[in-house]
Amino acid sequence: MNESPYALSHLDALESEAVHIFREVAGEFERPVILFSGGKDSIVMLHLAMKAFAPAPVPFGLLHVDTGHNFPEVLDHRDRVVATHGLTLHVASVQDYIDRGVLRERPDGTRNPLQTVPLTQAIQDQRFDAVFGGGRRDEEKARAKERVFSLRDEFSQWDPRRQRPELWQLYNGRHAPGEHVRVFPLSNWTELDVWQYIARERIELPSIYFAHRREVFSRNGMWLTAGEWGGPKDGEIPEKRQVRYRTVGDMSCTGAVDSDAQTLEQVIAEIAASRLTERGATRADDKLSEAAMEDRKREGYF
């Protein structure tokens, strides 16, 4: 194939698009913030933001919604990144809301759906007007219809029928006071793009993305980590297995996959050969119903 010498590689094209999105937000909004979980997508977002504004620092802070059931390796990584780059980190704590009686623990112990209230409250309290999320359209079918700039009302709700058509590279970020815009710079990336970019840019990740021995037990066909959050229960038998995580979320609903992939190259090879999507393999919360994600997004979820 004779490619034009001016054709960008797919990673360069996706990087350029994401950088453009970060700079649009910096140019048009007063108080943007990056949702930062310490997961690979948010780490890639931060990396892109740093490249977009170098040699100046990133002109916005980070917001982490801490479920209280996070993997300790991921929190360590988060704190190290914040310290290394001198960033501002806001934390919205689900545990806080439970302790104050505002939120109640669900019978199944899953805290993912509980993140919506602390997230929207933090956005209101801090008056964030643009909130970067690492969501990708390839992850889930409700996300496939998401805009790059996605308007949320004062209750952070998403109305798929009120979405603004998005043409060319013209992103419309107009919003009323109290409303905000969720911005998804990785909209057009796939899981494999993210991993290839991590490898190319030599981006450091939390250790749990690579194969390691861990005590896990089986629930709903997924390997969950044993821990204080509420597992294993009766009849669930913990065992040591060689696993890694494809996604990083709340420990109560993020499953590990059996894996021997210890390097980035091995991870990329494993994903390329996988016959399951990353959410299908690792997220219990998306198995709730056909429209689980759409319903959570309407209420203000990431």
């Binding site: 453009h20 700079r23 390839d138 496939a144 029928r161 796939t190 090879a269 999507t277």
Partner: protein, 443 residues
């Protein structure tokens, strides 16, 4: 939502669009492209089979893969633009999959706005119909550089070459007349798999590529020399740190053409000239950069340059104007009327504007002009005349899709009203003398 590109070695990226309805076999074609390139994964197929069964269907309905919204699944239609992602060993693809009926013209326009290629589907039994002509017109209007005509259901016309050739000739003539530079016609059967991914054993008379082979090999990334360079300034990078006390980088994505160090450039709208002293390509200092790279430029002189300005080569700078004549697609549910006070968003600048006139609405099926329509409703294509509060360095859309396009926005609630393309709708009309306008009509 189709996930997980399967081929780490993929190099370039092709953004393409499809328009069509279930009747044309569009879902079958897209489903086959995804399925045969192994982009539909096991858990998605399983979910699909489950959802299809619960609707009483025997075979998996591939449309359910992307009809992601509850309303779409309930109504069994695609309302929105669905973006799908897949890859082969040679290329990564972003497919904007849009519904084909006239009430979804705005979705087709949206999908085509970022596409480098569009696939138009025709049912071989019916030939070129109204909808085919509309799809070709939208591709021409949006200046999608490459058009593929997939003549589908060849199995139902006995794989006859004459049937294919007649349809290909008719649509190619029509599209060429509208200014489409290149039409590639391919005879296929999406259902049987002929010429979609694998060459057909039934059409020896056809020696061209399959649809996927064509998508994989068609050249992308136009030579930037073809169009004058344009750089809308997004943001000014000023670290003001001890290491970089005087650094001033003008950040943006090159909208057209290429820039090089040492080049004399003009900053618009001020009209001041200076020289590029450095180009930073995301951490790497380079001598030249081209569209669509995101870079930051350093300039020789301390000029007042800020977001909303446009940097262009002094030898080929656009003129600025407050009067814009454009072809638009109205995308909002509330109509657009003359006298409307709006915001115009052009490149990185948003200014106030007035809709002075709507001289005509265009019937896309036969390209018939309807003079003085009074207003434009959702999905209407029409001509508008706009007066802006400040002069804009706007190009003719035919010359630059990025700096020739704009949005009209409702200042009250921020609704995106209208998508605009400066200049005349189609190439054949663009050769006519532009309308005289004493107030600075520039095209």
């Amino acid at each position: 939502m189709i996930s997980t590109t399967q081929h780490p070695a993929a190099t370039t990226l092709l953004r393409f669009a499809t328009a069509g309805s279930v009747d044309d076999g569009k879902s079958t074609l897209v489903g086959r492209l995804l399925h045969d390139s192994k982009s539909v994964l096991a858990d998605q197929l399983q979910a699909l089979e489950h959802a299809s069964r619960s609707r009483g269907q025997d075979t998996p309905d591939l449309a359910l893969l992307t009809d992601g919204l509850r309303a779409e699944r309930e109504q069994g239609i695609t309302i929105d633009v669905a973006y799908r992602y897949f890859a082969t060993a040679r290329r990564r693809f972003i497919l904007a999959d849009t519904p084909g009926h006239v009430q979804y013209t705005r979705n087709m326009v949206t999908g085509a706005s970022t596409a480098e290629l569009t696939v138009i589907l025709v049912d071989a039994r019916n030939g070129v119909v109204e909808q085919t002509r509309r799809h070709a017109a939208i591709a021409a209007l949006l200046r999608v550089p490459l058009v593929v005509l997939a003549v589908n259901k060849m199995d139902l016309v006995g794989y006859r070459e004459e049937t294919f050739a007649a349809i290909a000739d008719e649509l190619t003539a029509y599209a060429t007349q509208l200014g489409v530079p290149e039409v590639t016609a391919i005879p296929i059967s999406a259902l049987k798999g002929d010429n979609v991914v694998e060459p057909s054993p039934h059409m020896d008379w056809y020696g061209g590529p399959t649809v996927l082979e064509h998508l994989e090999s068609v050249p992308v990334g136009n030579a930037p020399a073809q169009s004058p360079a344009r750089f809308p300034v997004q943001y000014v990078i000023r670290p003001q740190s001890p290491e970089h006390p005087d650094h001033r980088g003008y950040a943006g994505q090159i909208a057209a053409g290429s820039f090089r160090v040492g080049q004399e450039v003009t900053v618009l709208p001020s009209g001041r000239t200076t020289t590029i002293t450095g180009i930073d390509l995301l951490g790497e200092s380079v001598d030249a950069a081209w569209t669509p790279q995101s870079v930051s430029l350093r300039l020789a002189d301390q000029l007042d340059v800020s977001r909303g300005d446009l940097i262009a080569p002094s030898a080929a700078a656009p003129s600025v104007t407050q009067d814009i004549e454009a072809t638009v697609c109205h995308v909002a549910d509330r109509p657009l009327t003359p006298g409307a006070r709006v915001l115009i968003k052009h490149a990185t600048r948003t200014v106030k504007a007035l809709v002075k006139d709507i001289p005509s609405r265009l019937g896309l099926d036969d390209l018939s002009p309807h003079p003085a329509p009074g207003s434009l409703a959702a999905n209407d294509i029409g001509q508008v005349v706009i007066r802006t509060a400040e002069a804009l360095p706007i190009d003719c859309y035919a010359d630059s899709r990025c700096t020739g396009s704009f949005l009209l926005i409702d200042p009250a609630d921020g609704t995106t009203l209208t998508a605009g393309m400066a200049g005349h709708a189609f190439a054949e009309q663009a050769t006519e003398a532009p309308a005289e306008d004493d107030e600075g009509w520039d095209f």
